[in-house]
Every structure is written in C-alpha cells, then in structure tokens.
C-alpha cells in the first residue's frame, strides 16, 4: 500500500503541473503513455477481430445500414459515458443515471403530450434542466455533506425512480401520444447522419476540449488522482465534485429525451440498470475506478465495443439470456487487466527509482 502510494505520487505532481518535471518523471510518463497506447490499440484490435469474426458468421454485419444502426444505438450510451468518466475520474460513481434518464425523459414526454405544438428544442432543454437539477442535488450530497457517492446515488436513484412513477401515475406515454416533431429528434438526419450520432459527436468534441485544454478540466484529474494535494494546491475540490455530478445529470437528462424520442415510449422503468452498461463502457475504455485517469478516446472505444457486442450477439444467434453474463465477464476481465497493467507500471516505477 505505502509503496504504491510512493510510486504514484510523482505522477500526480506531473499531472497537476505543479512540481519540477525531473528526468525520472518524464521517462515515467512516456512509459505509462506507452502502455496506455498499447492498451487502446489492443482494444481496437479486439474490436476489429470481433467485427471480422461476426462478419464471417453473418454477412449482413458490416453493411453500411448495420453500421449506421450500431452507431445510432451506441450514441446514447456514449453520451452518458462522457459524464460517467468525469465522475469516475473524481473517484466517484453514479448509479442514479438510469433513474435520472427516466425522470427527464418522462418529464419531456408528458410535456409534449400536453402541448403537442411545443418546439422539440424546448423539450430537450426541459429534459436537460431536469437532469441538471437531479445532478446538482447529488453533487450537493457528495461534495457538501460528504456522503459516499455510491450511497448517495443509490438513495437518490430510488427517489428519482419513484418520482418518475408518481409523475406518470404508473402509465406509459406511448408513440401515438407524442407529436411527430418530438419523435423527429431521434429520427431526423443532418447531412445523412442521424441526429443522435451528430449530438454525440458534438458532445465528444466539446468534452475533448474541456478535459484536455481547460483549467477546470485538468483540475478534475487533479482532484481524482490526489484529493489532498489538489486541495493544498488551491483547487476547490468541492466545487469540482459538484460540477462533475451536475454535468453527469445534465447529460443523463439529454439522454433521457433522446431515449424517449428514439423508442417513442416513456415508461416508469425506462433504462433501469442502464448505469451498469455505462460504467462498463468506461471501465472497458480504461477509466480507472481508483480515480485520476481516463481518456476520451478510451471511452469511445469502450462504448463502441459494447455497442458492437449488443448488436452482434443476436446476429450470430447468441441467446439474449447470455448477454448479461457476457457483459459482466467482460467488465470483470477488463477491470482485472486494468489492475494488472497498473501493477506492472508501479513495479517498473519502483525499479526505476533504485537507479
């Protein structure tokens, strides 16, 4: 334990940009970067092999239509993965996003049911607003009252889910009750690309800029890799935590509206358990549960892999009842491999220190 901490400390300093970049730190960075690169290449190779394998079994897999299908289906997952990555980087976890998604989706659906003439953009904003409020409440509980993220989000998950049922009276809002303009949010196309894909791409570009090129974005990593030293170096970590959960809530709200528009139905149990898939996408993409690390390119690959699996398993006649198991095994193996790679890095760092 103590050794690991000693090994980890210099990396933290390098990441927050405060310390003197000694020679050792520089070479260490390149080493871990190499392994990380290898990791992503490995994931990419796995995706390609999987795709080719499925293609051999079922030739309709790699058609333009199906690829478009996969991308559309993965869009919502990948949007949520961005928020979840930020949360996990700060050493947190958010189990409430499925419930937030359902609540925001239901709010939007009930509103457009009452006012069919409403501009769909207003519905989207409404959903995002609901999500932001939910996220802000969570952020408050985690950052100000210091409740463990898993407990806070587990509790609020129930509250949000219960509110969704209360609001709808247990009834569904189904396709015929939604105006076409609302459903068009998910079916419309711009330049041949489905809106969902487009929205996901925009979010990824913004997120990439945010986490890599803004001060707040870098502070998220600093808070995650070492909360104490982040606090000491003047970062308001409470505010960062609050921000992260609010962003997660906002993205869940957005995803809620997109989900309801895509499936043209809002139910009390919409997306229940979806948080697990999102966490899986992050973990597969190399986001470390211990906090402090995770890359946008990683979660893209993680989401794509899950999306392909969801699409490919039925195509090669794998029973849907195996999907849970396969997904769970993949998460577990990915987490364990992450841990082993981290151990390797730490061991190498220790060796290096002796010289």
């Amino acid at each position: 334990m103590s050794m690991k901490n000693r090994g980890g400390q210099p990396v933290v300093v390098a990441a927050s940009g405060g310390g003197s970049p000694s020679q050792a730190a520089a070479s260490k960075k390149s080493l871990s970067a190499n392994i990380a690169k290898f990791r992503e290449l490995g994931l990419l190779a796995f995706i390609l092999i999987l795709a080719v394998g499925v293609q051999i079994r079922n030739s309709s897999f790699l058609t333009w239509e199906n690829i478009n299908d996969i991308a559309t289906n993965t869009a919502i997952l990948s949007i949520l993965a961005v928020g979840m990555m930020l949360v996990i980087i700060t050493r947190g976890i958010d189990l409430s996003i499925g419930a937030t998604l359902a609540l925001a989706g239901m709010t939007a659906a009930l509103t457009v049911k009452e006012y069919p003439g409403l501009n769909p953009l207003v519905a989207v904003l409404l959903g995002v607003g609901v999500g932001v409020v939910c996220g802000a409440v969570l952020g408050f509980l985690v950052s100000k009252i210091n409740i463990l993220p898993i407990i806070a989000t587990l509790g609020m998950m129930n509250v949000f889910r219960g509110l969704t049922y209360e609001m709808s009276g247990g009834k569904w809002v189904s396709a015929h009750q939604m105006p076409d303009s609302f459903k068009a949010i998910a079916t419309g196309k711009v330049l041949g690309l489905n809106n969902l894909i487009l929205i996901a791409i925009v979010i990824y570009i913004v997120a990439y800029y945010f986490v890599n090129h803004t001060r707040t974005g870098r502070q998220i990593y600093a808070v995650g890799s070492n909360p104490d030293s982040a606090e000491v170096s003047g970062i308001k970590s409470g505010r960062i935590l609050w921000l992260v959960y609010t962003v997660m809530g906002g993205l869940s709200g957005l995803a809620g509206v997109l989900w309801v528009a895509k499936f043209a139905s809002a139910q009390g149990d919409t997306a229940s358990g979806y948080e697990l898939s999102v966490i899986a996408a992050c973990v597969l993409g190399g986001v470390s549960i211990a906090g402090g690390s995770g890359k946008i390119s990683g979660i893209i690959l993680g989401s794509v892999l899950l999306g392909i699996l969801n699409n490919a398993l039925p195509m090669i006649n794998v029973s849907p009842f195996w999907q849970n198991f396969i997904q769970g095994m993949i998460i577990l193996i990915a987490v364990l491999i992450n841990a082993m790679v981290k151990r390797g890095i730490d061991r190498n760092n220790l060796m290096r220190r002796r010289i």
């Binding site: 407990i151 587990l154 998950m157 509250v159 049922y165 849970n324 769970g328 577990l332 987490v335």
Partner: protein, 325 residues
C-alpha cells in the same frame, strides 16, 4: 483514526448513553408506530404485527453479515444476484430430479461460493474497490441465473418446503425464530469475539491492523463468504415464501439491505456501528413498509421514502461531525 475506538471501556455517562444513534432509532420506531396506528385501525393487532415479520424478514438475514462488510469500509452490491442465482439453481436441480434437501444444501453452497469469489477478488485485487468487483459479479451471477432459467419461473416444490416461509413454531413464525438465532449469533461474533474486534480494527485502519498481526485478507474473505452464505439463506426463505422462483427475484435487495445497515448507524467510512442498530433498522423499515402498505401507499412512494431515509441517515452523523470541527 480515532484512538478512542481502541479503548476497552468507555466512560459511562448518562448523557453518552442516551445520545446514541440506537436511541434515535427507538424514538423513530415509536414515532413510526404512532403514525401507523393513526393511519390504519388494522395496524395495532398482534396477529398482523406477527405475520408482517414473515414478509419483511427475508432480506434481514443479509443485513447481519452486511454490517461486518460496512464496518470493514467495504460494500457488497451483489447480494440480490446471489439470492437469485442460488434460488434458481436450487429450483433447477429439484426440477431435474435432485431431492429437495440436497438441492437446499447446494443452494447454500452456491451462495457460499459466490461470496467466496467476491472475497477472493476483493483481497487479491486491493487496488480495485469492492464496489466495482461486486458490481461486475452482480451482473455475472444474475447472468448465470438467466442462462439457466431463461425468462421462466421454476417451482412446484414439495409441500413441506412451504414450512420455511409460512409456518409457525409454537405460535411464532419460523422465519422470526431463525432470524433471532442468526441475529444472536452475529451479534456475538461482532461484539464478543476477537474476530469482531479485528473487524472493527480493520475498519478503523487496515494498514495498522495488518502491521499488528491481523490476518486482514483472511478476515475479509470470511466476511464476504458469510455474506454469500446468508444471501443463500435468504434465497431459501424467499423461495419458500413465493413458492416459485425467477431469475429476476430479489432485484434491488442490495439497496434495501444497505439502507437498513446505514440507517442502523453503521458508518460507511468503516470502523463504527453496532449490530443492535441494524436490527432496530430492520424492524423500523419493515413495519414502516407494512403500515404504509396497509393504507395503500404505492410501492413507488415507498421507494422514495426509503431512498430519502437512506440519505437522511447518512447525512445526520456527517452534519454533526462538521459542527464539532
């Protein structure tokens, strides 16, 4: 962290005695009872109160070992899935001709193995939090249950199997007797044995515990294994109560169980809390559910109430701590 925890005997003061979380629970319990009595005329009835235990005590078996896990500062969210998997395997074996008593033993074994796997993973991969380990095993265990039983129900158990969930021994529900026996056992284990003291020590400071010669890995594995075993006990009672099983039974049990433990005053940061608090919390939530159910409060509203109770229970001690500083 706080050296006071390691003192053998705390100074006894009347103020200290009454300003305990457990008394707060007693007060809450009385308040809840008064509310329920006013809500429904059917609440204050010995037979009803007695029989209500049969419907809420099933998950209480998991609460007992979960107290240990939370005191260790860990968490296990795979318990609901373990209940489902062990129940499904038992039903599947029985329907394939295995005699029921043997199937029940295998049910307990399955739970134990699941718990052991959790413990092993948590101990072997210390850099991973128990959250993520049990999150993935939660999906895997339920996944296996789905593979075995698809989307169907399995049942048609022998007549005598109903005994566990429905029968009385000397006018007392069997499940209540079983719970009391287990509760005393776990209370003894936590408060009267060196094992229990070690668990507290590990929850306060695991590094210091290891350096002072406690076999931390072994204790952690035992605690997780016990949780798996008790989940299987829950599976027995729940399956008997329902008369059949499905891969999706006991969904969300982890939340209920953790809510009860946390409401019982066991600190999620580890090292603090007592068994009696968790036991009080079981009955508090159980009778709250029962009472509100009598006046037709929907399951969804109950979800909200339990969620808020959980948040409330974890917030209070934190707020008090802040004021002290």
């Amino acid at each position: 962290m706080e050296p006071r925890l390691l003192e053998n005997k705390r100074e006894f003061t009347l103020k200290g005695f009454f300003f305990q979380w457990e008394w707060m629970l007693v007060v809450l319990f009385v308040a809840m009872t008064i509310m329920n009595v006013n809500l429904s005329e059917f609440y204050w009835n010995f037979d009803n109160l007695r029989d209500a235990t049969m419907s809420f005590l099933d998950k209480a078996f998991i609460v007992l070992p979960m107290v240990f896990i939370i005191i260790l500062g860990d968490i296990d969210i795979s318990v609901g899935s373990i209940v489902a998997l062990s129940s499904v395997i038992m039903a599947d074996l029985y329907n394939h001709g295995v005699p029921m008593p043997l199937a029940m033993v295998i049910c307990l074994l399955v739970g134990t193995v699941c718990g052991y796997v959790n413990g092993l993973l948590v101990v072997k991969f210390k850099e991973l939090s128990a959250v993520i380990v049990t999150l993935s095993t939660m999906i895997i265990y339920r996944g296996i249950a789905y593979i075995l039983l698809k989307d169907q129900a399995a049942g048609k158990f022998p007549e005598w199997f109903n005994f566990l969930g429905w029968d009385y021994v000397g006018g007392v529900p069997f499940i209540l007797i079983a719970f009391v026996v287990f509760a005393i056992g776990f209370w003894y284990l936590l408060h009267k044995t060196t094992f229990g003291r070690k668990v507290y020590a590990m929850g306060s400071n695991i590094t210091a515990s290891r350096f002072s010669g406690i076999q931390t890995d072994r204790i952690k594995i035992i605690v997780f294994t016990l949780t798996g075993l008790m989940s299987a006990v829950t599976a027995l009672f729940l399956t008997s109560r329902m008369g059949s099983t499905r891969p999706n039974i006991a969904t969300g049990y982890e939340l209920d169980v953790i809510a009860m433990v946390v409401l019982g005053g066991i600190s999620t940061s580890g090292g603090k809390g007592r068994m009696i608090g968790a036991i009080l919390a079981i009955f508090l939530i159980g009778y709250l559910r029962y009472g509100l159910g009598l006046v037709n409060v929907s399951a969804q509203t109950l979800l909200i109430i339990i969620g808020l109770l959980l948040i409330f229970a974890v917030s209070i001690p934190k707020l008090k701590l802040k004021q002290k500083r």
